[in-house]
Amino acid sequence: MSAKTPWWFSEGESESKGFDLGAKGFDLGGLASGAHQVLEWARESLITTHQGHVNPVDYPQCFMCRAVLLLHPATSSEVVTEEEGFAWIELDPPRD
């Protein structure tokens, strides 16, 4: 572990409670509306139809089933949901 003070222990700049500092001031309304329409279309035409497809191998015409087969080997008997990994973080030694 380096003796140099890491940046997260440095002082300065403003503090806030519970605000999303990543939020920007410009208007994304139009873009969001367009994206929403695309998502609605995708949900209706792809996901809703795909919901009843138990084994993706049986539905080669379904876009979602083809995507699932691309991500998982065709020999796999069932679709396995990918787990988000857990990782411990290495912490610096305590400071006063």
Binding site: W8, F9, G18, V80, E84, G85
Partner: protein, 336 residues
């Protein structure tokens, strides 16, 4: 005043102080509900129970087990904590209730209750959204999922009210280290310690509860002298916690979370108050951190801005856990 958790060093008179606080608040005209973790709540009367049986009944049938009566599960570890947590949250939503006093017992008991209420909603949520739920064979899947969702909501609400609660910690004159450790546990789960009551102070010291500034504890300290056998309870204690009730009444409601975010150059610094000298571990799974403080674990959902960041490092400084985050270039193309 909302929710006030009372906990302390085992044997220092936590329940007496909690009962005295509730009594004192009623004396001052506050409509006050009182919960005691040591008293088993009526399971069958709880909406948590009906949702739990609707949810787990399906699993029990799948496993070939017969339905269970509420009484058969009495004493199941953690169940009492879950039901009581949900009842506290439900009581707080009653507009006729000014304050809820929850006697959590000793710090160890409080840590266990708060940990159960923190981890079980997370576990249930993961089961509900995980691949196991897809394989669930239920006569009415929609009803099962609905009951499951209600159960998670009950428990998540309990966790939320704890996050906005204040706490009163109780100990004796020689318990400074244990009080600091206990305050760390309460802070880990989002409760903000408001005051310390030093109980059973010998007559040679102070006779009536009075305010002191105690630099070691960093909070207002009220002292209650040792009770003689002639003194009645809890009215006697109530008269000694008068100043504590006034202090709690004057404190502003907690509207902001107990953590802070600060911008630091290209990154962000997340600060959570715990206690000096705490043994801390931090892990991350997606949008959640696992914070372990002195052996107690809390699942902490990251604020929105930090969900899109990588956790670069961190450590403890003067009782605060400080974590450094930098934008994840995979999900945040624009620099903040």
């Amino acid at each position: 005043m909302d929710l006030i958790l009372v906990s302390g060093v085992a044997g220092s008179g936590v329940s007496t102080v909690a009962a005295g606080l509730a009594h004192g608040m009623r004396e001052k005209g506050f409509s006050t509900a009182e919960f005691d973790s040591a008293v088993r709540p009526p399971l069958g009367a709880s909406s948590v129970w009906s949702d739990a049986t609707s949810t787990f009944g399906v699993w029990l049938k799948t496993l070939g087990a017969a339905g269970l009566a509420p009484e058969e599960l009495n004493g199941l570890p953690g169940l009492n904590d879950l039901v009581m947590g949900a009842m506290v949250a439900s009581t707080l939503s009653d507009p006729n209730v000014d304050a809820v006093i929850w006697d959590l017992g000793s710090f160890r008991e409080a840590g266990r209750t708060l940990q159960v209420l923190d981890s079980v909603p997370m576990l249930l949520d993961r089961l509900l959204t995980g691949s196991v739920a897809d394989k669930l064979s239920a006569p009415d899947p929609a009803a099962s999922v609905s009951a499951w969702y209600r159960l998670v909501t009950h428990l998540a609400r309990a966790r939320e009210v704890i996050n906005r609660s204040r706490s009163v910690v109780v100990g004796r004159s020689s318990d400074t280290a244990a009080l600091l450790a206990g305050m760390g546990i309460l802070r880990l789960y989002g409760s903000t310690p408001a005051t310390v009551i030093v109980n059973r102070v010998s007559k040679a010291n102070k006779t009536k509860g009075s305010t002191d500034s105690d630099t070691a504890l960093g909070l207002p300290v009220f002292r209650i002298r040792e009770r003689t056998k002639a003194d009645p309870l809890p009215a006697w204690t109530a008269s000694r916690v008068d100043s504590t009730v006034d202090l709690l009444d004057q404190l502003p409601p907690i509207s902001t979370p107990a953590w802070t975010i600060a911008k630091r150059g290209n990154g962000f610094r997340l600060t959570l108050a715990l206690r000096p000298g705490a043994k801390v571990q931090v892990g991350r799974r997606g949008d959640w951190l696992l914070l372990v403080c002195d052996g107690y674990a809390r699942h902490f959902e990251l604020p929105p801005v930090l969900k899109r960041c990588l956790l670069e490092g961190g450590g403890m400084r003067a009782g605060d856990l400080i974590l450094g985050f930098v934008p994840n270039p995979r999900v945040w193309r624009e620099q903040p």
